[in-house]
Structure formats: structure tokens, C-alpha cells
């Protein structure tokens, strides 16, 4: 088992190091071969583990690789915890990563930093695998930060472009903001349970919770520590899985190359938060308020970011907002204690969202890095394969029965519907509207790119054609996956569920969404423009993404800089440097200048001084006597 795990973890790391450090030496082809081989090995091993655990129901394994460090009464070690959850996640990560590796051979062909790109994505795979297989909070945090770091490197891959640099720094800092919550959560765990390992923590959780430990954050108020820890950890997850207030970095991260959007911002990194909550589900079960918090956040994100997707004109941004919205769904599922449904949606989402991103990537590649949907149209004739794959992805996303999206999203909606905790009704309504909005924005994008008149000028029209096998093979594999995963998992009552769907509301909402999208963007393309200027204020709010970006830019970025400038100028320069340090220098000079004036040089002044001295002495003597 230990060997199997090292076979999963080490190859991507070695590939990354080889491609990274010796990239220029071993050349482009060798470097991408090394990395793809590395990921392939880990993919095969993950399949073996998947078979052992899911099919042969092997018991959970908890292996400690080596003791990283001991301090005081605590031991931090690098260890691996393998159970069904880890097995599924391993499958998702390694498969998507393998497909993205293959895909980016074609996508990044002309790029200067070719080897560097491959080293980064396999480093990312290693980091994600470390995160998933972690058996304690310390290693989870290590994976957490490493994944954030590599996404920073990848978003800012084309570092000569300013928006890419800005996007990567913003992504990293927002992740760090959420990591503050995460590390405080770990602090809470270690104070309450005295250890960072998952199994002991989860085992003691019920017993400790029974004693209702409280912590008073603000004077007088007393909060249950479990709730505080869960919310803190969830803040960590919010940053990583881009939930409502901390979602601002995901749209900017589209600056990076498309394969990484597929890998990081669809399938793996963003799901880390969902995975963490699922992993700690026994802990979360103990605090109802934390679950309500999660449910509300998830539902709000699902609905409001979905609506934003409708007004985007860049194809990658539409899919980015759709990821935000689907993550909202997963988090809502977690909030409703339906951890299995959340993970199931995670798996299916990984498949069809990666498919959508890669399809968008192949469209962009074909149109020579044109990302604006208004300049696309009628590509159905030129890119038939991408067209069909995109359609499959869109149908899966919109939760149309035979496709996998339906099964997972339907399970979530059911769970939220049955949940009895506070905010469940709000969440249910939000998710229902979300289904309609999802269908609307994805098919809007679908019709704008593939249907209607081809606005690209005629000269470049004829050289739009499908890309090499390296591009379309991953698309086809993902398309098959999007179709079959739902049925495989729900094999028993797949058909029965599909039939039942026709009677349930969400299905009809999805169909309504598709029809409105078809009507507005194919039959009467003028309607969206008319609607936009009729409800111009609503349109303005949506364009401004509810003002989150501007708010963040003005208050946080410019605010901290102004505060820092103020502190530096007045606190450091004026007060301490000039005031105390140089000030004391000037004070001494002033004292000596005044004393100097006493030495007038005239004798009579000195005589006078003497007399006054004598007088004072005599007077003092008199007063004393």
C-alpha cells in the first residue's frame, strides 16, 4: 500500500523537477513526455486504489510516511489516509490532470515557456495529491498552500502581460486571506483536541462536543468552540472554492492559459474546499449553526454568480461563473449534510466542466486566441467535434436527465429540499432559480458561439478547422465520461430516476432555460439588447459584478495602501525617525545654543551672577536659621 501511494505521489513531483530544472536541457518533447508519463503512472495507481476501495471495499488505510517535526507535546508527520472519498478524489484529479497534460501538448505548442508550463501543472498535480491524501491538518495545510502557490504561478504564467500578473497576485492574496481562517481553524483544533491528525480528532469530536466547550471571542459572548472551528475552517474552504465574498479571484484567474482553467479552476483546486468539508463531515455534523452558514453561503453563491454568467461576453468568463455557481451547489449540498451528493456532483462537475473549458480552449485556439463570443458565431460548420462535445457538456451542466449532471444536481436539490435546518427554504428556492439560470447562460454561450451568422470575416473563415488529435481526444473522453458517470453511479435506478425527472420541477426549469436561450439568441437576437437598455440599472449592477471588485479594489487595496502610507509617513518617518531620533539630536544642539549665550564675555555680568549667588545663599541661610 505504501509503495502504491509513493507511486502515485512521487512521479508527478519528479516530472515537475525534471521538466522545471532540466527543461531547457532535455528539450520540449522530452519534458512533456516525462510529465505525461509521471501523471500516467499515478493515474494507473489511482485506478488500482479505486478498484481496491470502491469495488473490493478495502478498509481505510492510515499510513505515516515520516515524522516531519515534533515540538512540545505535538507531533507533525507526513502521512496518508486512504478511504473511499480519497479514492474517488484521486480518480478525478489524476484523470483530469492526465487529459489536461495531453491537451496542453497541443494548446501550448508555440509557447516559449513550454517546459516551465508542464513542470508547473505536474507540480500542481503533486500538490493536489498531497492535499487529498493528507491524514492530518498540517499536511492538508501544506497541500492547501502549495496548490494556491502553483495556481499563482500558473495564472501569472505569461508574466509579461500585466493583467495576468494582477490576476495571479489577486488570486494568491485572496487565497491567503482565506488561509488565515484556515490556520486559525487548525489552531482551534490543536487547542481543543491536542493533535492535528484527522482520525483521533474525528473520533474524539462527539465526546468533546458533549462537554460544550466554549470560547469567548468578544467580551461576554460565549461561542461553542466547535462552531468557531468549523466556521474558521470553512472560511479557508471559501477562499479556495471561491464562495461568495472571496470569489473575486476566479474570474481574474482566466488570464492564465485555458488548460489550467480546466485543471485548476474547474476540476481540482476549487474542489479542495468541498473535499475538506466532506473529509471533516463528522466535525461539521456537531455544529448546526456552521451547517446553516455553509448552506446559506452555498445557495447565495449558486444563485447570484449564476446570474452574472448571463451577462458575460468572454466565453471563458461564462464558464468561470458557471464553475462558481456549481461550487455553490456543492457547498449547499454540504450545508444540507448531503456530503455524498456534494462529492458526487464534484465528480460529475469535474468531468463536464473540464470538457466545457477544453472545448472553449479548442474554439479559442481555432480562432487564434479570440475569446469574445460576440465575434464568434456559426462555428457549427467548421468545428463539428468541438460543437458536439460542447453540446454534451452544456446538457450535462443544465442537468438534462440522461447526462451525469442531472443525477448529481437532482440529488443535491432533493437533499436541500428535505433539510430542516435554518435557511433551508431560502436555499431551496435559490437552487431552483439557479437551475433555470444555469441552463440559460450555458445555452446562451452555446448558441452565440456555434449558431447564428458567422461574424468572423470571410478570409479567416476557411482556415478555422479542427485541431490535432491531442486536442480533440481529451474532449471525446470527457464527453463520454459526462454521459456515463451519472448512469454508472446510479446504475440501479438510473432509468427510473430519469423517468421520474419528467414529473419534477427542476427538469422543466432547465428546459425552460434552454428554450428562452434558444429564443433570445437564435430567433430574435435583438431581444437581449432591448432588455439590457430597458433594465439598464439592473444590467449595470450585473456588469459591475455587484460591485465586489470595485469595493475590494477601493476599500482593501487602496485603503490598506493609504493606511500604510499614513503609518509610514507619520508613524515611522515623522514620529519616530524625526521626532525621537533626530529630535533628540536637535534638542541637545538647542540646549547648548542657549547655554552658550550665558557666556557673554563681560566681566560685570559674571560679577552680577556672583552677587546674585551670594544673595541667594544668604537668603537661603536666613530662611533656614
Amino acid at each position: 500500500m505504501q509503495l502504491l501511494l509513493t507511486a502515485i505521489l512521487l512521479p508527478p513531483l519528479l516530472g515537475a523537477i525534471l521538466a522545471g530544472i532540466f527543461g531547457t536541457i532535455i528539450g520540449r518533447v522530452a519534458s512533456h513526455r516525462v510529465t505525461v508519463l509521471g501523471v500516467l503512472i499515478s493515474f494507473i495507481c489511482s485506478c488500482i486504489i479505486f478498484k481496491n476501495f470502491i469495488l473490493d471495499h478495502q478498509s481505510t488505510q492510515n499510513i505515516i510516511a515520516y515524522t516531519w517535526g515534533t515540538s512540545g507535546a505535538f507531533q507533525f508527520n507526513v502521512g496518508f489516509l486512504i478511504d473511499n472519498l480519497t479514492a474517488t478524489m484521486l480518480m478525478v484529479v489524476t484523470s483530469v490532470s492526465l487529459l489536461v497534460h495531453v491537451y496542453s501538448i497541443g494548446y501550448m505548442r508555440g509557447d516559449a515557456g513550454y517546459q516551465r508550463f508542464f513542470s508547473y501543472i505536474s507540480l500542481f498535480t503533486f500538490a493536489m495529491l498531497m492535499l487529498i491524501t493528507a491524514n492530518n491538518f498540517f499536511q492538508l495545510f501544506f497541500g492547501w498552500e502549495a496548490v494556491g502557490l502553483v495556481s499563482y504561478l500558473l495564472i501569472g504564467f505569461w508574466f509579461t502581460r500585466e493583467p495576468a500578473n494582477f490576476g495571479s497576485l489577486k488570486a494568491f492574496i485572496v487565497n491567503r486571506v482565506s488561509d488565515v481562517g484556515f490556520i486559525l481553524g487548525i489552531g482551534g483544533v490543536i487547542t481543543l483536541f491536542g493533535t492535528v491528525d484527522f482520525l483521533p480528532v474525528l473520533a474524539q469530536a462527539p465526546k468533546v462536543a458533549a462537554s460544550l466547550p466554549t470560547i469567548s471571542l468578544f467580551a461576554g459572548t460565549s461561542w461553542s468552540i466547535i462552531t468557531v472551528i468549523c466556521i474558521l475552517l470553512f472560511i479557508g474552504a471559501m477562499g479556495k472554492s471561491a464562495q461568495m465574498p472571496l470569489h473575486i479571484w476566479l474570474p481574474e484567474s482566466m488570464e492564465g492559459p485555458t488548460p489550467i482553467s480546466a485543471l485548476i479552476h474547474a476540476a481540482t483546486m476549487v474542489t479542495a474546499g468541498v473535499y475538506m468539508v466532506a473529509r471533516l463531515s463528522p466535525l461539521y455534523e456537531l455544529s448546526a449553526s456552521a451547517l446553516t452558514f455553509i448552506l446559506v453561503i452555498g445557495a447565495t453563491t449558486a444563485l447570484f454568480t449564476g446570474i452574472l454568467g448571463v451577462v458575460q461576453n468572454d466565453i471563458k468568463r461564462v464558464i468561470a461563473y458557471s464553475t462558481l455557481s456549481q461550487l455553490g451547489y456543492m457547498v449547499a449540498a454540504l450545508g444540507a449534510s448531503a456530503f455524498a451528493a456534494g462529492i458526487f456532483h464534484l465528480v460529475t462537475h469535474a468531468a463536464f466542466k473540464a470538457l466545457l473549458f477544453l472545448a472553449a480552449g479548442s474554439v479559442i485556439l481555432a480562432l487564434h486566441h479570440e475569446q469574445d463570443m460576440r465575434k464568434m458565431g456559426g462555428l457549427r460548420r467548421y468545428l463539428p467535434l468541438t460543437y458536439s462535445c460542447f453540446l454534451v457538456g452544456a446538457l450535462a451542466l443544465a442537468a438534462i436527465p440522461p447526462f451525469s449532471g442531472f443525477y448529481s444536481k437532482d440529488a443535491i436539490i432533493e437533499a436541500v429540499h428535505l433539510s430542516t435546518i435554518h435557511g433551508a427554504s431560502y436555499a431551496y428556492v435559490a437552487l431552483m432559480i439557479g437551475v433555470f439560470v444555469t441552463a440559460l447562460y450555458i445555452f446562451r454561450a452555446f448558441f452565440m458561439t456555434f449558431h447564428g451568422s458567422c461574424s468572423a470575416n470571410s478570409a479567416s473563415q476557411d482556415n478555422i478547422r479542427e485541431n490535432g488529435w491531442v486536442i480533440w481526444l481529451p474532449l471525446v473522453i470527457l464527453a463520454i465520461a459526462s454521459i456515463t458517470i451519472g448512469m454508472i453511479v446510479k446504475h440501479a435506478d438510473a432509468l427510473q430516476l430519469a423517468l421520474h425527472a419528467f414529473t419534477s420541477l427542476p427538469f422543466w426549469l432547465a428546459i425552460a432555460g434552454i428554450v428562452t436561450a434558444w429564443f433570445c439568441y437564435v430567433i430574435r437576437p435583438a431581444i437581449p439588447a432591448m432588455l439590457a437598455n430597458k433594465f439598464s440599472w439592473l444590467y449595470y449592477i450585473l456588469i459591475k459584478k455587484y460591485g465586489f471588485d470595485d469595493f475590494n479594489q477601493i476599500v482593501f487595496v487602496r485603503g490598506t495602501r493609504a493606511l500604510a502610507q499614513l503609518l509610514y509617513n507619520y508613524g515611522d518617518q515623522r514620529l519616530i525617525d524625526d521626532g525621537l531620533v533626530n529630535g533628540s539630536g536637535r534638542l541637545i544642539q538647542w540646549i547648548s545654543a542657549t547655554l552658550k549665550r550665558l557666556q557673554t564675555g563681560y566681566i560685570y555680568n559674571y560679577a552680577l551672577a556672583m552677587i546674585i549667588g551670594v544673595l541667594a545663599l544668604v537668603l537661603w541661610q536666613m530662611l533656614i536659621a
Partner: protein, 101 residues
């Protein structure tokens, strides 16, 4: 008869006068030296008064020595005065402020 008190009052006034002459003198060093002489005179008179009223000759002996010293002092003071004059070409007090800080 001369009473002790009145005599002391006279010497006190003499002493204070000379002191003020010393301090407020705005013209030259000569007046300064003269005031010093006056002061010594006042002190001697005091000694004489006390030796007279306490009927003890020690006071007069002491005056005898003070006279010696005073004479020496006056001589050296004038010598210095001449040197200052030769060097600074003036003995006006307000111009002699080379000691200024």
C-alpha cells in the same frame, strides 16, 4: 560715643556702594580696580570697628595683613591693566568681550 551699629551701617553702605560700582560700571577697568580698593577699605574698617569694640588687637593685625595683600593686588591689577591696554588698545569694559561664548 560711636555705637557699633552705626559704624557697621556705614561700612555696609560703603561695601554695597563699591559692589554696585563694580557691577554697574560701564566705563573702564580703572574704576573697577578702585571699587575693589573701596571694598577692601570697607572690610578693613569693619575689622577695626570690631577690634575696637571687642577690645582685641587681632582685628588690627589682620587689617595690617590685608593692607599688604591689597597693595600687592592693586599693583598686579594695574600691571595687567597696562598689558590689556597694550594688547586691546582699549580698556573700555564693554569692548573687552573676548571671552564671549
Amino acid at each position: 560715643m560711636i555705637t557699633l551699629n552705626s559704624a557697621l551701617i556705614v561700612t555696609a553702605i560703603l561695601f554695597s556702594l563699591s559692589l554696585i560700582g563694580l557691577v554697574l560700571n560701564r566705563h573702564n577697568l580703572i574704576v573697577l580696580l578702585m571699587c575693589v580698593e573701596l571694598m577692601l577699605l570697607a572690610v578693613n574698617t569693619n575689622f577695626i570697628i570690631f577690634s575696637h569694640f571687642l577690645n582685641d588687637l587681632a582685628g588690627q593685625v589682620f587689617v595690617f595683613f590685608i593692607l599688604a595683600v591689597a597693595a600687592a593686588e592693586a599693583a598686579i591689577g594695574l600691571a595687567i591693566l597696562i598689558l590689556i591696554f597694550r594688547k586691546q588698545k582699549t580698556i573700555n569694559v564693554s569692548e573687552l568681550n573676548t571671552l564671549k561664548g
